[in-house]
Subunit: 246 residues, 6 copies
C-alpha cells in the first residue's frame, strides 16, 4: 500500500480551476494531490527574431516555484541572479511538448507565453505544469478562434503528462508524490497526446538502472494515467475540447 | 464618483485567507479589490551573519510578481538575472515596516522570512503586501508562542498599510487602484500601527508637488483606511490578535 | 548640545563649487559639513526608448560612493557586479525629485544625466546629492538657454533637500551627520521647492514609530533648512537663478 | 541510403585516443565520425559540501564547445556570462549517467570531475561525450586501483551512449550526424550499461510524436549500437576493462 | 643548464598542424614544448557597429583554457559567469598584435575572429597563441585571396611572439616553460614582425625590477627566438607565405 | 610644437594634494595637466586567503573613472554589471607595480587597498594613478611606521610612471595628453623606481610597429620624466621621503 493509500496504478485527485487569474488570455490553477501550479497563457502578437517573416507562431514556457512551495524555503532564482539547470530543463520541456500538438503555421505570427508558477509542491510539478499548461493554452487559443482572430483551431490534439517510477518495495508506481519521488530508483516522465502517441519520454536511473521489461511496465502505467488526465481536460474545457477534436 | 463607484475615503473590499499554502509557518492570501498577494512567513532557526551571537532575531522580506499578474506580461526578474530597483525598494520597505512592531530580542536568534508574491495586480501591491505580511507573520509567531517555543509574544502592535493620493479631478482619494494610481499627481504610501503611530511615510509627487495642507488631508484619509484594515486583521487572527493586544 | 555644537535647528556649513570638473555641461562640488559630493549634469541629445517621438525630455540620475568615502572601506558595486538596493533607491529618488521642477516638454527631446559621486561621506549624502544635483542641472540648463538651444527656461522652481530626525535625547534635529543618523530613532528625508511645496517625503522609523505631532515638528525643521539651502543656491547660481525666478 | 552511405543500423567510425592530454588523471579524445570530443577526468581528494563526512564520492561533469566546433561560429558562454539551458542539460546528463555505474562508497571521499570539450561537432556530441567520458573515468579510476589508492574497483559496469531517430524518408536510423539530426522528426538519446540495462532514455518529438511500436524499433537500434561502442571501450581499456568485468 | 637541457637562448620544439579542425576558414594546432593551442580563424562578412560603413575590416580574438590544460584543474570562466582579468588582457593583446600586420582597408568590411583555445599548458600560452593565431589567420586570408574574394593580400608582414625572462641562477633565458616562468624575477613578452620591428613589449618585474642593460639582453634573446618562429611559419604556410612576402 | 606649447621632452604641470579626503590612511589628489585622480590608500589588518599564515602582506588596487571624467559620458561599470578589460588591465598593473617596491614581509599580515578614482581625464590616467598611488601608499605606510605599528619602513624605493609615444609629425614625445594619445602610432607606459630601474614596460603599436632605435629614444624620454616625478614625490612627502631613502 502507498503512503496515501493509493493503488500502484492510481493517480492523485486532480482539479483544474479555469480563469484563476483575470489578466491572462488563459489561466488555470491545476491541483494534483498536494501539488498546485498556476498556469497562465499569454498571447503576444509577434514572434522571436529567429522566426520573423516566416508566417509561423511560437510557444515558449517559463517555470518557477515560490520559495516556500517546498517544505524547506528555497532561495529565489531572481535573488541568485541566475536560473538553475533544473528550471531550464523543465521550461524547455514544457515549451517543446506544447509545440508538438500545435500547428504553428495555423497559429500565425504570434507567440504564446506559458508561465507555470508552482505555489505548492508535492512531487510531479513538471508533469502537472504540462497538463495545466495545455489546458491554459487551449483556453487562450480557443478564445482566439471564437473571436475569429484565428480562422481554424491550430491545436491538433490533447496533451498531458505524468510521472511513473520504480520503488524498491512497491515496484512500479504511477504519479509519484514527493516522498515517493525521493525514494524511487527509477523515475520517468511521460508526455502523451490524446491519440496515445509519445511526445517526450525521459527515464532516469537514480544511481540505478532498469531493464527493458521494467520499461514496458512503466509505459503501460503512464498510458493509463495520461488517458485519465486527458479525460479531465476534455471535461473542463467543454466547447474548446470539441473544437480540438474536430 | 470613482471608476468603481467608491467614495473618496472608501477602501476596496479586503479579504484574508489564512493557511492558503500548507508548508509555511504562516500563510495568507490577501485580496484588496483586484490585487491578490500570497504572503508566506517562514521561520528559520538562525540569523544573518551580522547578528550572530547578539541574542536578537531578524525579519526580512522578498517581493515578486508573477509575469502575468499585470495586464501586459512582464519579464521575470530571474530571467533578467537581476532584481529591479522597484522590487528592492519594496522588499526593503516591507522588512523595515515589520521590524518596527516586533521586539527582536524577544524573538530570539531566529529569522522570519516574508515572501510576498503578487499573483494578480490592480494597484497598491506594496501596501497589500505589508498588511498581508503582518498577518502571516502574526500567524507564524503566534504558533511559536502557542507551542511554547517563545515564552512571550514579541509582536508589540498591529501593522497595516494603504495608499492615498491626489487626483486632478477627484481630489484626495484612499486606496488607489491601478487606473487611479497611473493618473494620480501625488501618491503616498503610509504604514501605521494599531496605536495610530507612523512607521513609514513615502509621499511622492509624480512630476508634481503638494502643499502642507494637502499632506494633512492625505494623512487623515490614510489613518481612516489603516484603522479599518487593522480591524480586519484582528477579526481573522482571533486568539493571536488577543495575544498581541495583551 | 549636538556633537558638533550645533543647535537642533541648524544646518551644517554648506558650500557649492561650480564648474568643479571641466567636461560636464554642469558640475558642482557640494560640501555639507563632512559630506562632499561631485554632482555632474550631462546633456544628451536623445531620450530613452519609452519617450521617443513624444517631444519630451527626460532626467535620470546615478549615485555612487567612492570605496573610501566612508570610515570603513566598502566594496565597489562594479566589483560586486550589481548595484545595491540602497543605491537604486537613492538614484531613483534623485531623478524623480528633479523631474518635479522641470517642464519636460520645454526641455525637448534631450536627456539630462545626473551623476552624484560621493567622495567623502558624513551623513545626508542623498539629500546633499539632490541639492547639488539641482544646482548642476540649473547650470547645464541655464547654458542651453543662454546659447539659445532652449527658447525658454524649462526649470519651474528651485529644489533642495535635507534630513530631519528624532534623537532619544536631543529630540527633533535638522541635518543629521553620520553619528546622529546612526543613533536616530526616526529618520526623514524631505525634498521641497522654492515655493515651499513638497516633492518627496520619506519618513522611516528605525525599529521605532512616530506620532502625528512629532511629524509636524519634523516638517517644520525641514522647511527651515530647505529655505536656507535654496537661498544658497540662488546666491551661487546668479543669473541662472534669476532666469528660473522669472 | 544515408548521406554518408551508411546502413540505417550502422554506427559511424569510432576511435578513442587515450592519454590525449598529459595533465589529467584520465584523458581521451573520442572521434565519432566528424564529432571530436576531448574527455578529461580529474580526481580531487574531497567532495562537495552536501556530501562531506558521508564516506561517499561524487562524479560531476562539465560540457562545452569551442566556438568554431560548429559550422557557424557560436558565442562563448564565458563571454555571454552564462551557461545555456542546453549545456546545463547535457552536463547534468553526463554526470548522472556516470554515477549510475559507480559504487560511490567504494570511490571514497573524492570527486571525479569530467570535462567534455567538443572541438569539432557533427551531431551526437552529448552521446559521444558520455562514451568518451566513461573511458576517461575508467582510466583515471583504474590508475587509482593500480596504485592501491582504491582497494577495490568502484566501477560496476561499462557505459556508453548513442542517438537514434526517425527520418521521414529513411525511417529509423542509428547514430545521427548533424544533417540527419536537423531533419529528424524524432530524436532519442539512449545510455546503457554493458549488461544491456537502461540508464537514461530521452526521446523527443520535434514538433512531432511517435508511436509505441516506433519506440520499440528505436530501442532495438540503440541496443545494437551501444553494444558495439562498449566492445570498443573494452578493446582500448585493456587491463582496466578486465578489472571492471571481475 | 635548464631543466629540460636547453641552452639559455634555445626555443622549445615547435610544430604547427594546419587544418586541425574542419569547420574554420583557418585552423592550426600549435605545439611549443608542452604547450598546445588550437588556433582557429573564422571569417565573418560584417564588422562591429563602431566600424560600419567605414570600408574597413576588423580582427578580434578570444582566448580560453580547458579546465585541465593545467596541472591543477581550474574553474571554467563560463561557470564563474565572468572572464578573468588575465584572460581579458591576453585576448586584447592577441587582437591588437594581429591588427598591426594587416591592412584593414584591404581586408574590406569583414571581421576575422581568432579563437585560441589552450588544450595543454606549459608556459608561454599567450605567445604561442599569437604565433599560432597569425598562422591560422594567414591560412584564412590566403584562401580569400586565392578564391578572388580579396583582390590583394592585406597581410603586410609575418608576426610571432615569444617570452624571455631573468632567472636568479640561469640569468637571461628564452621561451620559458611553466616551471621557469613561476621562478622568474622578470618576465617579458615580445611580439615582432618579420622585418624585426616591435609590435608589443610587455616587461614585468614580479616583486623585482630590471636594469636597462638587462632589458637590452632580453630584447636580443627575443629577436633571435622570434626570427626562428617566423622561419617556421614560412615553412608551413608555403604559397601563402610567398603571397605575404611580395 | 605640441598643442599645449610643450617641448617634446616636457611633462605637464603636476601637483599632489595630500590628505585630500579625511577617512583613508593615505589620500592624494594628483593632477597631471587636465588629468585628476583621487588616490586613496586603505590599510586592512588581514590578507587575502591565498596569503594567510605566510607572515606577508599584500597590496591590491582598484581603478575607476567617474562617468563624466571624459568628454563623452561613459556608462558606469556598476550599471553594466561588469568591469571592462581595460579597467582590469589597469588595476592589475597598479597593484603589481606597487608591490615591486615594497618588502611584503616587512609589511606583515596586512593589506593595502589602493583606490584610484579618475575624476577628470585628459590622457595618462593609468600612469598618473601609479604616481599618485605610490604617494598615497607612502603616506599610509609612513604613518604606520611613525605610530610604531611597523618597526621598519617596508617601502624600498620610490616609484612613478609616465607615458611616451611616437607621433607621425612630432616624433618622440613625453607625457601624452588625450589628443596626442588618440593620434599616436606607438604608445608606451613606463614604470620606474627612484634608482632608475624598470618595473613595467608596456609598449604597443596601434596598427603600427616600432624599431629598436625608436624604443631606445622612448626609454630615454621616460627616464627623464619619471626622475622629475620622483623629485616631486620627495618634495611633497617630506619626512616620509627621508624614511624611504634611508
Amino acid at each position: 500500500m502507498r503512503y496515501d493509500g493509493r493503488e500502484n496504478n492510481e493517480l492523485r485527485p486532480v482539479t483544474m480551476d479555469l480563469d484563476f487569474i483575470t489578466h491572462p488570455e488563459g489561466s488555470v490553477l491545476i491541483t494534483v494531490g498536494g501539488t498546485k501550479v498556476i498556469c497562465n497563457a499569454s498571447v503576444e502578437d509577434r514572434v522571436p527574431p529567429f522566426l520573423r517573416g516566416e508566417g509561423k507562431g511560437w510557444i515558449t514556457a517559463e517555470y518557477s516555484m515560490l520559495p516556500r512551495a517546498t517544505n524547506q524555503r528555497t532561495i529565489r532564482e531572481s535573488s541568485k541572479g541566475k536560473i538553475s539547470g533544473r528550471t531550464m530543463e523543465i521550461q524547455r520541456l514544457i515549451g517543446r511538448a506544447l509545440r508538438a500538438v500545435v500547428d504553428l503555421e495555423k497559429l500565425g505570427e504570434r507567440t504564446i507565453w506559458i508561465d507555470c508558477d508552482v505555489i505548492q509542491a508535492d512531487g510531479g510539478t513538471r508533469t502537472a505544469s504540462i497538463t495545466g499548461a495545455f489546458t491554459a493554452m487551449a483556453l487562450a487559443v480557443g478564445r482566439l478562434v471564437e473571436k475569429g482572430t484565428l480562422k481554424a483551431m491550430p491545436i491538433t490534439d490533447f496533451l498531458a503528462a505524468t510521472s511513473v517510477g520504480i520503488d524498491k518495495e512497491k515496484g512500479l508506481i504511477l504519479d509519484l508524490n514527493y516522498q515517493e519521488d525521493s525514494a524511487a530508483e527509477v523515475d520517468m516522465n511521460v508526455v502523451m497526446t490524446g491519440e496515445g502517441r509519445f511526445v517526450e519520454l525521459q527515464g532516469t536511473g537514480e544511481e540505478a538502472t532498469f531493464s527493458r521489461s521494467e520499461l514496458d511496465g512503466l509505459l503501460e502505467l503512464a498510458e493509463k494515467g495520461i488517458a485519465e488526465l486527458i479525460e479531465k481536460q476534455k471535461e473542463v474545457l467543454g466547447d474548446v475540447a470539441s473544437a480540438i477534436q474536430q
